[in-house]
């Protein structure tokens, strides 16, 4: 591109900036922001989990898991966020994974099935340890 000079200045253009509330403008953008936001409380909850693991490293003696109503409420909210995030993530598998001759809905179904199996296995292991 030629540099602007005094005899032939480049035409002035107006550069619009995105408004702060752009994500409230339509439902699709709003759901996208919610999806992205869910990662934040999940990260906080996982940091807490690491802290609890460290606290429990000396064995069951003297370890008391947190049981306040506020913590339980926070955990339920985070669980809802985690389920929403997982649902949106796995639903997109049909777009991302491309296997010749396999319908995209089958790919999505297989991801949800794998999620279900993994959840059942982890739940069985945790319940087994708890007994």
């Amino acid at each position: 591109m030629k540099a602007a000079d005094s005899t032939h200045p480049l035409p002035r253009v107006y550069k619009p900036e995105m408004q702060r509330g752009w994500w409230l403008r339509q439902r699709h953008y709003f759901l996208y922001i919610i999806r992205e936001f869910t990662a934040l409380p999940m990260a906080l909850w996982l940091l807490w989990l690491l802290y609890e693991i460290q606290r429990a490293s000396n064995g069951p003696k003297g370890y008391y898991p947190p049981s306040s109503a506020a913590f339980i409420a926070f955990s339920i909210i985070v669980l809802a966020f985690a389920l929403y995030h997982s649902y949106t993530f796995l639903s997109l598998a049909g777009v991302i994974i491309h296997i010749k001759g396999v319908q995209s809905w089958l790919i999505v179904l297989s991801q949800f099935a794998a999620w279900l199996v993994a959840s059942a296995v982890i739940a069985a292991v945790l319940i087994g340890f708890a007994r």
Binding site: M1, P11, R12, V13, Y14, K15, P16, M18, W22, W23, R25, Q26, H28, Y29, Y32, E36, L92, V95, I96, I97, H98
Partner: protein, 247 residues
Amino acid sequence: MAEKRITVRATRFDPAKDKAPRLQSYDIPFADESMVVLDALNHIKAHVDGSLSYRWSCRMGICGSCGMMVNGVPKLTCNAFLRDYWPRSITVEPLNNFPIVRDLVIDMEDFMHKLKSIKPWIIRKQEYPLGAGEHRQTMDQIDEFRQFSECINCMLCYAACPVYGLNNEFLGPAATALARRYNLDSRDQGIKERLPVLANSEGVWECSFVGECSVVCPKGVDPAKAIQQTKLDTTMRFVLPYGNRED
């Protein structure tokens, strides 16, 4: 019977006079049900205000010139029917996320640069002489990339992409879709020349999958799919043994 009319509000911006764009209202006849937004703009230009500037060409959804924001949604104005909006008014603005040159005309320089950067043509390691014949393809091989070749470079996907709006360095949907089109073409051998552009931090990895690019595409191309599949491809090439081999 009273003549049916519709109000069209169009962005006006004269770089020599105005500091910022403004909306101007025009009350025009809604003469027949087949009228599209582009017809309304043409009516304004021909009968009301000849200084209104906008791009258009084919009037049949092929050239991709007449993309504008219609009531906040990126549309080809030749394919947006007034009957779908009437009796509400219509607000026509330049495509989001691009600098405005004048009225409804945007500066597409950045897009053209990005388009060129992914080398949207067939690259061969060694060209055969024309006499050697054409590069033959099966229907299956064509089907691999056909969808991505439908792009008409209308830039609606860039106007719908908040990631591009927030960071103009992002390669963006249409350029990636076109890169995928050539990378999937059995005649092409240029993937290694495109990877530095596609796989860098302002390439496909900048995309956080809003998905609106695919929603607004007037040709049914799925740029979001092209971007996510390119992410998977580049990862596989990096992770798998011999993944980055010469094809």
